[in-house]
Symmetry: C2
Subunit: 238 residues, 2 copies
Protein backbone atom coordinates (compact mmCIF):
# COMPACT_ATOMS: atom_id res chain seq x y z
CA UNK A 1 0.00 0.00 0.00
CA UNK A 2 1.34 3.36 -1.04
CA UNK A 3 0.93 5.35 2.13
CA UNK A 4 2.32 8.48 0.49
CA UNK A 5 -0.92 8.95 -1.46
CA UNK A 6 -3.08 8.83 1.65
CA UNK A 7 -4.57 11.56 3.80
CA UNK A 8 -2.10 12.50 6.54
CA UNK A 9 -2.83 11.82 10.19
CA UNK A 10 -6.15 10.09 9.59
CA UNK A 11 -6.84 6.36 9.75
CA UNK A 12 -9.85 4.07 9.52
CA UNK A 13 -10.28 1.62 12.40
CA UNK A 14 -12.74 -1.22 12.10
CA UNK A 15 -14.39 -3.34 14.76
CA UNK A 16 -15.61 -6.41 12.87
CA UNK A 17 -18.25 -8.32 14.81
CA UNK A 18 -19.25 -11.94 14.20
CA UNK A 19 -21.53 -14.31 16.11
CA UNK A 20 -20.98 -18.00 16.87
CA UNK A 21 -22.17 -20.41 19.60
CA UNK A 22 -23.67 -17.80 21.93
CA UNK A 23 -20.55 -15.64 21.66
CA UNK A 24 -20.13 -12.19 20.16
CA UNK A 25 -16.68 -12.17 18.55
CA UNK A 26 -14.32 -9.54 17.12
CA UNK A 27 -11.58 -9.92 14.55
CA UNK A 28 -8.13 -9.11 15.96
CA UNK A 29 -4.69 -9.38 14.37
CA UNK A 30 -1.36 -10.18 15.98
CA UNK A 31 1.73 -8.47 14.61
CA UNK A 32 4.55 -10.59 13.18
CA UNK A 33 7.03 -8.62 15.28
CA UNK A 34 8.06 -9.84 18.71
CA UNK A 35 6.24 -8.26 21.60
CA UNK A 36 2.66 -9.49 21.24
CA UNK A 37 1.17 -6.49 19.47
CA UNK A 38 -2.54 -7.08 19.03
CA UNK A 39 -4.53 -4.68 16.89
CA UNK A 40 -7.87 -3.93 15.29
CA UNK A 41 -8.04 -3.97 11.48
CA UNK A 42 -6.92 -0.52 10.42
CA UNK A 43 -5.94 1.35 7.28
CA UNK A 44 -5.46 4.69 5.61
CA UNK A 45 -7.62 6.70 3.21
CA UNK A 46 -6.32 7.19 -0.33
CA UNK A 47 -6.55 10.71 -1.68
CA UNK A 48 -8.84 9.48 -4.45
CA UNK A 49 -11.08 7.36 -2.23
CA UNK A 50 -14.28 8.20 -0.31
CA UNK A 51 -13.90 7.40 3.39
CA UNK A 52 -16.74 4.86 3.28
CA UNK A 53 -15.00 3.11 0.40
CA UNK A 54 -11.79 3.08 2.45
CA UNK A 55 -13.65 1.42 5.32
CA UNK A 56 -15.17 -1.16 2.93
CA UNK A 57 -11.68 -1.87 1.58
CA UNK A 58 -10.14 -2.31 5.05
CA UNK A 59 -12.85 -4.80 6.05
CA UNK A 60 -12.76 -6.59 2.68
CA UNK A 61 -8.96 -7.01 2.92
CA UNK A 62 -9.35 -8.75 6.28
CA UNK A 63 -12.51 -10.79 5.66
CA UNK A 64 -12.47 -11.53 1.94
CA UNK A 65 -16.13 -10.51 1.59
CA UNK A 66 -17.77 -7.64 -0.34
CA UNK A 67 -20.63 -5.21 0.41
CA UNK A 68 -20.23 -5.43 4.13
CA UNK A 69 -22.58 -3.75 6.59
CA UNK A 70 -20.62 -0.87 8.13
CA UNK A 71 -21.64 1.81 10.56
CA UNK A 72 -19.57 4.81 11.61
CA UNK A 73 -19.80 5.05 15.39
CA UNK A 74 -17.21 7.56 16.64
CA UNK A 75 -13.97 9.44 16.05
CA UNK A 76 -10.89 9.24 18.26
CA UNK A 77 -8.61 12.23 18.23
CA UNK A 78 -6.71 12.97 21.42
CA UNK A 79 -3.42 14.82 20.97
CA UNK A 80 -1.33 11.90 22.21
CA UNK A 81 -2.68 9.27 19.80
CA UNK A 82 0.47 8.04 18.01
CA UNK A 83 1.98 4.86 16.71
CA UNK A 84 5.26 5.90 18.33
CA UNK A 85 5.31 2.96 20.79
CA UNK A 86 5.13 0.60 17.83
CA UNK A 87 8.06 2.29 16.05
CA UNK A 88 10.12 2.31 19.26
CA UNK A 89 9.66 -1.43 19.50
CA UNK A 90 10.65 -1.98 15.88
CA UNK A 91 13.84 0.05 16.41
CA UNK A 92 14.64 -1.80 19.65
CA UNK A 93 14.21 -5.13 17.86
CA UNK A 94 16.38 -3.97 14.93
CA UNK A 95 13.54 -4.44 12.46
CA UNK A 96 14.18 -0.83 11.61
CA UNK A 97 17.93 -0.67 11.13
CA UNK A 98 18.56 3.03 11.17
CA UNK A 99 16.39 5.36 13.14
CA UNK A 100 17.94 8.24 11.19
CA UNK A 101 16.92 6.64 7.94
CA UNK A 102 13.29 6.99 9.03
CA UNK A 103 13.60 10.46 10.49
CA UNK A 104 13.62 12.08 7.08
CA UNK A 105 11.35 9.73 5.22
CA UNK A 106 7.66 10.14 4.48
CA UNK A 107 7.02 6.72 5.95
CA UNK A 108 8.33 7.86 9.31
CA UNK A 109 5.65 10.48 9.73
CA UNK A 110 3.04 7.73 9.94
CA UNK A 111 4.59 6.67 13.19
CA UNK A 112 5.55 9.90 14.89
CA UNK A 113 2.53 12.02 13.99
CA UNK A 114 -0.60 12.20 16.02
CA UNK A 115 -3.48 10.25 14.43
CA UNK A 116 -7.22 10.78 14.20
CA UNK A 117 -9.14 7.52 13.82
CA UNK A 118 -12.51 7.27 12.16
CA UNK A 119 -14.25 4.28 13.76
CA UNK A 120 -16.59 1.92 11.93
CA UNK A 121 -18.17 -1.24 13.20
CA UNK A 122 -19.10 -4.04 10.87
CA UNK A 123 -21.48 -6.99 11.20
CA UNK A 124 -20.62 -10.15 9.24
CA UNK A 125 -21.79 -13.74 8.95
CA UNK A 126 -18.82 -15.41 10.63
CA UNK A 127 -19.09 -18.54 8.49
CA UNK A 128 -18.62 -16.61 5.27
CA UNK A 129 -15.37 -15.00 6.45
CA UNK A 130 -11.88 -16.35 5.84
CA UNK A 131 -9.72 -14.02 7.96
CA UNK A 132 -6.77 -12.58 6.02
CA UNK A 133 -3.47 -11.41 7.50
CA UNK A 134 -1.80 -8.21 6.30
CA UNK A 135 1.93 -7.99 5.54
CA UNK A 136 2.48 -6.89 9.15
CA UNK A 137 0.50 -9.74 10.76
CA UNK A 138 1.61 -13.07 12.12
CA UNK A 139 -2.00 -14.17 12.55
CA UNK A 140 -5.56 -12.94 12.66
CA UNK A 141 -8.54 -14.49 14.38
CA UNK A 142 -11.81 -14.18 16.26
CA UNK A 143 -11.88 -13.34 19.96
CA UNK A 144 -14.83 -13.38 22.33
CA UNK A 145 -15.74 -9.73 23.09
CA UNK A 146 -15.28 -10.52 26.79
CA UNK A 147 -11.87 -12.13 26.30
CA UNK A 148 -9.86 -9.70 24.18
CA UNK A 149 -6.09 -9.30 24.76
CA UNK A 150 -4.49 -5.92 25.45
CA UNK A 151 -4.46 -4.03 22.16
CA UNK A 152 -2.07 -1.33 20.91
CA UNK A 153 -2.99 2.37 21.00
CA UNK A 154 -6.41 3.01 22.59
CA UNK A 155 -8.01 0.14 20.66
CA UNK A 156 -9.48 -1.55 23.74
CA UNK A 157 -11.46 1.64 24.32
CA UNK A 158 -12.41 1.86 20.62
CA UNK A 159 -13.67 -1.72 20.84
CA UNK A 160 -15.76 -1.10 23.95
CA UNK A 161 -17.19 2.03 22.36
CA UNK A 162 -18.25 0.06 19.27
CA UNK A 163 -19.85 -2.62 21.47
CA UNK A 164 -21.74 0.06 23.40
CA UNK A 165 -23.05 1.51 20.11
CA UNK A 166 -24.04 -1.92 18.82
CA UNK A 167 -26.12 -2.44 21.97
CA UNK A 168 -27.79 0.96 21.51
CA UNK A 169 -28.51 0.30 17.84
CA UNK A 170 -29.90 -3.19 18.25
CA UNK A 171 -33.52 -2.27 18.87
CA UNK A 172 -33.96 0.32 16.19
CA UNK A 173 -32.04 -1.21 13.35
CA UNK A 174 -32.73 -4.23 11.23
CA UNK A 175 -29.03 -4.58 10.50
CA UNK A 176 -28.39 -7.15 13.19
CA UNK A 177 -29.38 -9.82 10.67
CA UNK A 178 -26.05 -9.26 8.94
CA UNK A 179 -24.57 -11.50 11.66
CA UNK A 180 -26.58 -14.44 10.30
CA UNK A 181 -26.63 -16.42 7.05
CA UNK A 182 -29.38 -15.54 4.56
CA UNK A 183 -31.94 -17.83 6.21
CA UNK A 184 -32.33 -18.27 9.95
CA UNK A 185 -34.74 -19.33 12.67
CA UNK A 186 -36.35 -17.10 15.29
CA UNK A 187 -34.33 -18.90 17.94
CA UNK A 188 -31.10 -17.91 16.20
CA UNK A 189 -32.11 -14.24 16.23
CA UNK A 190 -33.10 -14.46 19.88
CA UNK A 191 -29.74 -16.07 20.75
CA UNK A 192 -27.94 -13.15 19.10
CA UNK A 193 -30.01 -10.51 20.91
CA UNK A 194 -29.51 -12.28 24.23
CA UNK A 195 -25.77 -12.61 23.66
CA UNK A 196 -25.24 -8.99 22.65
CA UNK A 197 -27.47 -7.51 25.34
CA UNK A 198 -26.44 -10.06 27.99
CA UNK A 199 -29.99 -10.74 29.09
CA UNK A 200 -32.76 -13.22 28.35
CA UNK A 201 -36.11 -12.67 26.66
CA UNK A 202 -39.39 -14.58 26.90
CA UNK A 203 -39.68 -16.47 23.62
CA UNK A 204 -43.24 -15.51 22.69
CA UNK A 205 -42.78 -11.83 23.56
CA UNK A 206 -39.51 -11.70 21.66
CA UNK A 207 -41.02 -13.25 18.55
CA UNK A 208 -43.98 -10.84 18.66
CA UNK A 209 -41.67 -7.82 18.95
CA UNK A 210 -39.38 -8.94 16.12
CA UNK A 211 -42.30 -9.69 13.78
CA UNK A 212 -43.82 -6.28 14.54
CA UNK A 213 -40.70 -4.67 13.04
CA UNK A 214 -42.03 -6.01 9.74
CA UNK A 215 -38.64 -6.60 8.16
CA UNK A 216 -38.78 -10.40 8.00
CA UNK A 217 -40.30 -12.75 5.45
CA UNK A 218 -41.37 -16.22 6.67
CA UNK A 219 -40.20 -19.16 4.56
CA UNK A 220 -40.76 -22.93 4.86
CA UNK A 221 -40.18 -24.89 8.04
CA UNK A 222 -36.73 -26.18 8.86
CA UNK A 223 -36.95 -29.96 9.27
CA UNK A 224 -33.96 -31.38 11.04
CA UNK A 225 -35.35 -34.78 11.98
CA UNK A 226 -35.45 -33.84 15.65
CA UNK A 227 -38.52 -34.75 17.69
CA UNK A 228 -39.46 -31.19 18.59
CA UNK A 229 -41.64 -29.07 16.36
CA UNK A 230 -39.81 -27.85 13.25
CA UNK A 231 -39.21 -24.08 13.39
CA UNK A 232 -39.92 -21.69 10.54
CA UNK A 233 -37.07 -20.16 8.60
CA UNK A 234 -37.00 -16.40 8.00
CA UNK A 235 -35.07 -14.00 5.85
CA UNK A 236 -34.95 -10.22 5.59
CA UNK A 237 -37.48 -8.79 3.11
CA UNK A 238 -35.95 -7.50 -0.14
Amino acid sequence: MDIINCINQVSIDCVIFGYENHQLKVLISKSRFKGDFYSLPSGFIFQNEDIEDAAQRVVRERTGIENIYLKHFNVFGKVGRKRQEFLDKLIALNYVNQEEEYQNSDRYKWFINRFISIGYYSLVDINSVIPQTSELDESIGWYNIHDVPELIMDYNQVLQDAYHCLKSDINELSNIYNLLPEQFTMKEIQDIYETILEKTFIRTNFQKKILELDVLERLEKKFTGAKNKAPYLYRVKK
Copy 2:
Protein backbone atom coordinates in the same frame (compact mmCIF):
# COMPACT_ATOMS: atom_id res chain seq x y z
CA MET B 1 -5.91 31.57 13.32
CA ASP B 2 -2.65 29.96 12.32
CA ILE B 3 -3.82 27.32 9.88
CA ILE B 4 -0.28 26.06 9.32
CA ASN B 5 -0.30 24.36 12.73
CA CYS B 6 -3.51 22.45 12.04
CA ILE B 7 -4.14 18.93 10.85
CA ASN B 8 -4.27 18.86 7.06
CA GLN B 9 -7.46 18.06 5.19
CA VAL B 10 -9.63 17.72 8.29
CA SER B 11 -12.15 20.23 9.59
CA ILE B 12 -14.74 20.42 12.35
CA ASP B 13 -18.25 21.38 11.27
CA CYS B 14 -20.84 22.33 13.86
CA VAL B 15 -24.60 22.39 13.67
CA ILE B 16 -25.63 24.63 16.58
CA PHE B 17 -29.29 24.16 17.51
CA GLY B 18 -31.37 26.62 19.52
CA TYR B 19 -35.09 26.72 20.33
CA GLU B 20 -37.41 29.74 20.37
CA ASN B 21 -41.15 30.28 19.88
CA HIS B 22 -42.00 26.79 18.62
CA GLN B 23 -39.11 26.90 16.17
CA LEU B 24 -35.96 24.80 16.05
CA LYS B 25 -33.21 27.11 14.84
CA VAL B 26 -29.64 26.72 13.57
CA LEU B 27 -26.78 29.20 13.59
CA ILE B 28 -25.62 30.14 10.09
CA SER B 29 -23.04 32.66 8.95
CA LYS B 30 -22.98 34.75 5.79
CA SER B 31 -19.61 35.47 4.21
CA ARG B 32 -18.46 39.09 3.84
CA PHE B 33 -17.59 38.39 0.20
CA LYS B 34 -20.09 39.05 -2.58
CA GLY B 35 -22.01 36.05 -3.75
CA ASP B 36 -24.18 35.11 -0.77
CA PHE B 37 -22.04 32.37 0.70
CA TYR B 38 -23.86 30.86 3.68
CA SER B 39 -22.03 28.41 5.90
CA LEU B 40 -22.15 26.36 9.07
CA PRO B 41 -19.68 27.27 11.83
CA SER B 42 -16.49 25.44 10.93
CA GLY B 43 -12.87 25.32 11.99
CA PHE B 44 -9.64 23.39 11.96
CA ILE B 45 -7.93 21.20 14.56
CA PHE B 46 -4.65 22.44 16.01
CA GLN B 47 -1.88 19.87 16.21
CA ASN B 48 -1.80 20.28 19.99
CA GLU B 49 -5.57 20.13 20.50
CA ASP B 50 -7.95 17.18 21.11
CA ILE B 51 -10.69 17.08 18.49
CA GLU B 52 -13.41 17.52 21.12
CA ASP B 53 -11.62 20.61 22.40
CA ALA B 54 -11.46 21.91 18.83
CA ALA B 55 -15.23 21.44 18.51
CA GLN B 56 -15.79 23.23 21.83
CA ARG B 57 -13.59 26.09 20.61
CA VAL B 58 -15.43 26.42 17.29
CA VAL B 59 -18.81 26.62 19.04
CA ARG B 60 -17.49 28.93 21.77
CA GLU B 61 -16.05 31.33 19.17
CA ARG B 62 -19.48 31.62 17.53
CA THR B 63 -21.73 31.63 20.61
CA GLY B 64 -19.62 33.17 23.37
CA ILE B 65 -20.56 30.40 25.80
CA GLU B 66 -18.46 27.72 27.50
CA ASN B 67 -18.98 24.02 28.30
CA ILE B 68 -21.42 23.46 25.51
CA TYR B 69 -23.28 20.21 24.96
CA LEU B 70 -21.77 18.64 21.84
CA LYS B 71 -22.39 15.34 20.14
CA HIS B 72 -20.42 13.85 17.27
CA PHE B 73 -22.95 12.58 14.74
CA ASN B 74 -21.14 11.74 11.48
CA VAL B 75 -18.12 12.22 9.23
CA PHE B 76 -18.24 13.54 5.69
CA GLY B 77 -15.43 12.46 3.40
CA LYS B 78 -16.26 12.14 -0.28
CA VAL B 79 -13.33 12.61 -2.65
CA GLY B 80 -14.78 15.79 -4.18
CA ARG B 81 -15.29 17.72 -0.91
CA LYS B 82 -13.25 20.89 -1.47
CA ARG B 83 -13.43 24.57 -0.77
CA GLN B 84 -12.37 25.18 -4.39
CA GLU B 85 -15.66 26.88 -5.37
CA PHE B 86 -15.09 29.37 -2.60
CA LEU B 87 -11.53 30.16 -3.76
CA ASP B 88 -12.68 30.46 -7.37
CA LYS B 89 -15.17 33.10 -6.29
CA LEU B 90 -12.57 35.00 -4.29
CA ILE B 91 -10.23 35.06 -7.29
CA ALA B 92 -13.05 36.13 -9.65
CA LEU B 93 -13.93 38.95 -7.27
CA ASN B 94 -10.27 40.02 -6.97
CA TYR B 95 -10.28 39.40 -3.22
CA VAL B 96 -7.39 37.10 -3.94
CA ASN B 97 -5.12 39.21 -6.11
CA GLN B 98 -2.77 36.68 -7.52
CA GLU B 99 -3.83 33.13 -8.06
CA GLU B 100 -0.16 32.24 -8.56
CA GLU B 101 0.71 33.72 -5.21
CA TYR B 102 -1.58 31.16 -3.60
CA GLN B 103 -0.53 28.20 -5.72
CA ASN B 104 2.69 27.77 -3.79
CA SER B 105 1.58 28.84 -0.36
CA ASP B 106 0.52 26.70 2.54
CA ARG B 107 -2.69 28.68 2.82
CA TYR B 108 -3.70 27.66 -0.68
CA LYS B 109 -3.83 23.98 0.19
CA TRP B 110 -6.78 24.65 2.49
CA PHE B 111 -8.80 25.52 -0.57
CA ILE B 112 -7.65 23.08 -3.23
CA ASN B 113 -7.34 19.96 -1.11
CA ARG B 114 -10.11 17.53 -0.45
CA PHE B 115 -11.51 17.85 3.09
CA ILE B 116 -12.87 15.41 5.63
CA SER B 117 -15.36 17.00 8.02
CA ILE B 118 -16.01 15.74 11.51
CA GLY B 119 -19.59 16.72 12.32
CA TYR B 120 -20.83 17.74 15.77
CA TYR B 121 -24.20 19.03 16.76
CA SER B 122 -24.64 21.31 19.70
CA LEU B 123 -27.67 22.21 21.84
CA VAL B 124 -27.69 25.67 23.43
CA ASP B 125 -30.07 27.94 25.32
CA ILE B 126 -30.68 30.48 22.58
CA ASN B 127 -31.13 33.35 25.05
CA SER B 128 -27.65 32.90 26.48
CA VAL B 129 -25.98 33.15 23.07
CA ILE B 130 -24.63 36.32 21.48
CA PRO B 131 -23.72 35.16 17.96
CA GLN B 132 -20.19 36.16 16.94
CA THR B 133 -18.94 36.70 13.41
CA SER B 134 -15.55 35.41 12.30
CA GLU B 135 -13.12 37.51 10.25
CA LEU B 136 -14.67 36.04 7.10
CA ASP B 137 -18.30 36.77 8.04
CA GLU B 138 -20.55 39.68 7.20
CA SER B 139 -23.20 38.42 9.61
CA ILE B 140 -24.29 35.42 11.61
CA GLY B 141 -27.75 34.55 12.84
CA TRP B 142 -30.44 32.01 13.65
CA TYR B 143 -32.49 30.36 10.91
CA ASN B 144 -35.53 28.13 11.27
CA ILE B 145 -34.45 24.56 10.43
CA HIS B 146 -37.15 24.49 7.75
CA ASP B 147 -36.08 27.80 6.19
CA VAL B 148 -32.32 27.55 5.70
CA PRO B 149 -30.66 29.19 2.64
CA GLU B 150 -28.48 27.25 0.22
CA LEU B 151 -25.19 26.60 2.01
CA ILE B 152 -21.69 26.12 0.58
CA MET B 153 -20.11 22.67 0.18
CA ASP B 154 -22.48 19.84 1.23
CA TYR B 155 -23.57 21.70 4.37
CA ASN B 156 -27.30 21.43 3.66
CA GLN B 157 -26.87 17.67 3.79
CA VAL B 158 -24.70 17.91 6.93
CA LEU B 159 -27.47 19.97 8.55
CA GLN B 160 -30.22 17.51 7.64
CA ASP B 161 -28.09 14.65 8.90
CA ALA B 162 -27.62 16.41 12.26
CA TYR B 163 -31.37 17.07 12.50
CA HIS B 164 -32.09 13.40 11.77
CA CYS B 165 -29.68 12.37 14.53
CA LEU B 166 -31.21 14.85 16.98
CA LYS B 167 -34.63 13.29 16.33
CA SER B 168 -33.23 9.79 16.91
CA ASP B 169 -31.47 10.84 20.10
CA ILE B 170 -34.38 12.72 21.65
CA ASN B 171 -36.03 9.81 23.44
CA GLU B 172 -32.97 8.16 24.90
CA LEU B 173 -30.98 11.19 25.99
CA SER B 174 -31.61 13.72 28.67
CA ASN B 175 -29.53 16.27 26.78
CA ILE B 176 -32.47 17.97 25.14
CA TYR B 177 -32.71 20.14 28.24
CA ASN B 178 -29.65 22.02 27.07
CA LEU B 179 -32.00 23.92 24.76
CA LEU B 180 -33.70 25.47 27.81
CA PRO B 181 -32.64 27.83 30.60
CA GLU B 182 -31.79 26.24 33.94
CA GLN B 183 -35.41 26.19 35.12
CA PHE B 184 -38.37 25.38 32.89
CA THR B 185 -41.96 24.16 32.91
CA MET B 186 -43.26 20.85 31.61
CA LYS B 187 -45.08 22.72 28.87
CA GLU B 188 -41.79 24.19 27.63
CA ILE B 189 -40.26 20.71 27.36
CA GLN B 190 -43.32 19.42 25.56
CA ASP B 191 -43.17 22.34 23.10
CA ILE B 192 -39.57 21.45 22.28
CA TYR B 193 -40.33 17.76 21.76
CA GLU B 194 -43.31 18.60 19.56
CA THR B 195 -41.29 21.10 17.52
CA ILE B 196 -38.33 18.78 16.94
CA LEU B 197 -40.41 15.68 16.19
CA GLU B 198 -43.12 17.61 14.33
CA LYS B 199 -45.95 15.87 16.13
CA THR B 200 -48.17 16.49 19.14
CA PHE B 201 -48.35 14.61 22.43
CA ILE B 202 -51.17 14.23 24.97
CA ARG B 203 -50.15 16.40 27.92
CA THR B 204 -50.69 13.86 30.71
CA ASN B 205 -49.01 11.00 28.85
CA PHE B 206 -46.06 13.20 27.93
CA GLN B 207 -45.57 14.37 31.51
CA LYS B 208 -45.73 10.78 32.81
CA LYS B 209 -43.13 9.62 30.28
CA ILE B 210 -40.75 12.50 31.00
CA LEU B 211 -40.98 12.05 34.76
CA GLU B 212 -40.33 8.31 34.39
CA LEU B 213 -36.92 9.16 32.93
CA ASP B 214 -36.09 10.33 36.44
CA VAL B 215 -33.70 13.07 35.41
CA LEU B 216 -35.78 16.05 36.59
CA GLU B 217 -36.10 17.69 39.97
CA ARG B 218 -39.37 19.52 40.75
CA LEU B 219 -39.01 23.03 42.17
CA GLU B 220 -41.57 25.66 43.31
CA LYS B 221 -44.53 26.70 41.21
CA LYS B 222 -44.16 29.44 38.64
CA PHE B 223 -46.65 32.20 39.46
CA THR B 224 -47.24 34.53 36.56
CA GLY B 225 -50.43 36.20 37.76
CA ALA B 226 -52.46 34.48 35.06
CA LYS B 227 -55.78 32.94 36.01
CA ASN B 228 -54.86 29.36 35.04
CA LYS B 229 -53.19 27.03 37.50
CA ALA B 230 -49.54 27.91 38.10
CA PRO B 231 -47.24 25.23 36.64
CA TYR B 232 -44.33 23.69 38.49
CA LEU B 233 -40.80 24.57 37.54
CA TYR B 234 -38.27 21.79 36.93
CA ARG B 235 -34.54 21.51 36.52
CA VAL B 236 -32.20 18.65 35.65
CA LYS B 237 -30.95 16.74 38.70
CA LYS B 238 -27.31 17.39 39.61
